[in-house]
């Protein structure tokens, strides 16, 4: 390959500057600021701050509502990963079998992916509205649905709101994964194994493991971070703080409660949690996966 040489030593910085500036302002500076906040105690009116060591961390560990948020986030990300993964896989397998109108199904199933979480939340609002909400009425008739007071009902509300859009993401990747499997491998298994279900679990599913692994990470990250808009437009953490995710709690404590120190400490804790989960996944799950 031919190397293009520029005479100036500075032109590269000039061209890189816009991107670097964006990273600097929206990524690096906030990170530094977060660390600063996490180790300082602010005056509630913003007049001053002082170094606080690990006080902010000790404070969040002694705060039972932090553990509530922690518990909810874990449950939420687990359930969302499970639901979106399994429904996405089911739809992908079915759509992959369709002979006629394949692209129509695909397009329709991918669409929700393009909707912003906050908009999804507003739409879910309608479905769970006490006055005219379809799902509210359905569940109410079944067992007396009341998400304002009942934690389980509130979970159902945010889980349905949070899953819908993410099913599309799972669908796309699983469909791509299915199409990447060699056709002759499937044909060989058709000759070797009569049962469709057995064939799926012994051949197709193991070959989809790289996709599944990728989607588990994507789904957990989504449930952790991207559901902020959904929580904010649906339950707002109700009842009590039972449906606050860690991100949502950090936001409420920092910007509504103006306790930037606690919010900073929570953010750093979140970073550590994500780090641990990712390391765990790469260590213990990835080793069992076959990549082609």
């Amino acid at each position: 390959m031919k190397k293009v040489q520029f005479k100036s030593n500075y032109s590269q910085y000039f061209f890189l500057a816009p991107q670097l500036l964006i990273l600097l302002i929206f990524l690096y500076w906030p990170i530094i600021q977060t660390f600063k906040d996490a180790f300082t105690m602010q005056d509630a009116f913003g007049f001053g701050s002082q170094f606080a060591g690990f006080d902010n961390f000790l404070f969040i560990f002694s705060d039972p509502s932090y553990f509530t948020a922690f518990k909810f986030t874990i449950i939420y990300s687990f359930v969302i990963t499970l639901i979106t993964g399994s429904i996405g896989l089911l739809l992908a397998v079915q759509a992959n079998k369709v002979m006629h109108g394949k692209s129509a199904y695909k397009t329709l199933l991918i669409w929700p992916y393009a909707i912003a979480p906050a908009v999804v939340g507003v739409m879910a609002n309608y479905f769970f509205s006490e006055r005219y909400g379809l799902l509210h009425h359905l569940f109410n008739n079944l067992w007396g649905f009341n998400w304002y007071e009942n934690v389980f009902d509130a979970y159902i509300y945010v889980i349905i709101a949070g899953s819908w859009k993410q099913i599309s993401a799972n669908f796309i990747f699983f469909l791509a994964g299915l199409q990447a499997i060699q056709k002759t491998v499937i044909e060989a298994s058709i000759i070797d194994c009569k049962s469709n279900i057995r064939r799926f679990w012994t051949i197709t599913f193991p070959l989809l493991m790289p996709t599944t692994f990728f989607l588990i990470i994507i789904n957990i990250t989504y449930a952790f971070f991207d559901t902020f808009g959904i929580i904010d437009t649906t339950t707002i953490g109700a009842p009590g703080s039972e449906t606050k995710t860690l991100v949502y709690k950090a936001y409420i404590d920092g910007f509504k409660g103006l306790d930037l120190g606690s919010a900073g400490a929570q953010s750093i804790m979140m970073m550590i949690i994500v780090l641990v989960i990712t390391i765990f996944q790469f260590r213990y799950i990835e080793g069992k996966i076959h990549y082609n």
């Binding site: 044909e187 060989a188 000759i191 070797d192 194994c193 009569k194 057995r198 070959l207 493991m209």
Partner: protein, 361 residues
Amino acid sequence: MVYQRINSNRKIKMSFLELQNITKIYPNGTKAVNETSLNIENGEFVVFVGPSGCGKSTLLRMIAGLEDITNGEISLDGNVINNIDPSERDVAMVFQNYALYPHMSVFNNMAYGLKNRGISKEEINNKVNDVAKLLEIDQLLTRKPSMLSGGQRQRVAMGRAIVRNPKIFLFDEPLSNLDAKLRNQMRLEIKRLQRQMGVTSIFVTHDQTEAMTLGDRIVVINNGVVEQVGTPKEIYSKPNTKFVAEFIGSPQMNLFNCIIENGIAHIADMRINLNNSTNIDDASLGIRPDDILISDNGQHTCVANLVEYLGSDMIIYSKIGDQEFSCKLSSKINLNAGDTFKFDISSTLVHLFDNTNGSRV
């Protein structure tokens, strides 16, 4: 054995595998296979050969059950298998790209079909180990396919088929992904194994050398239609159609467009006496490059335009009128490009085809 019917339902004597008026039309209207009938006997090694897209693979896949049959009937060992699940037809297939299960070890690849048929662990162990020894892959049983070479993968794919001990082996161009040396080696091995086990086999290829060397019988297919069925010798020495004449044999048979009057073929200003009394307005006269007899007192004279040296043989390219032809002769003869040479064309060695329908006269 000839297939006969007294009435529509009673069969007297059947071949091992019978294809009856098999037609395949794809949903988009393409006719891949057209009214093909074929009988294959137990233990036979049959090769389907033809250019790519001629329908040979489709035919094989219909026998395997991977492709629906639009029309016609396939029966194996006396049972119609049209609507029988591929896994219950008792056929085993070896694919072009091997189609090994990438997430399974060699052992599990070979054992998979047996496990699903409810065979005991001990028996599976014995069978897989025996076949692995036979194919000399017993050292590789714990490896994954990604850790194997092309030739080894090919062996595993064969092992997966052999271990099932099926009624019929189906090979779908299994050698075309191998390099030339390995291909020759595997070709011999497949032939040896087939003889040893005596299992009926169908081998699909576009390579006429593979077809000639492997098959007990060859089925030449073109455009979804069987052009000729016969032993390699029959096909080579007496091609039924112009297509078969051109397709089988290397270098390709020379075909001269000519007019035949009273048993004399007119090719440009050359005359060849056929010693009969045929009259055809539009004919093709075929002669294999090695059937052209070069001698100093030959009747015809031509100029060698190009000489290809192949070691023991050489191929001379020349022209009669504006029609090119080639002849193959021993490289001991001293002939260079630009030289003239004399030759004879014997009427007993020519193949005559009618150009209007391409069939042999």
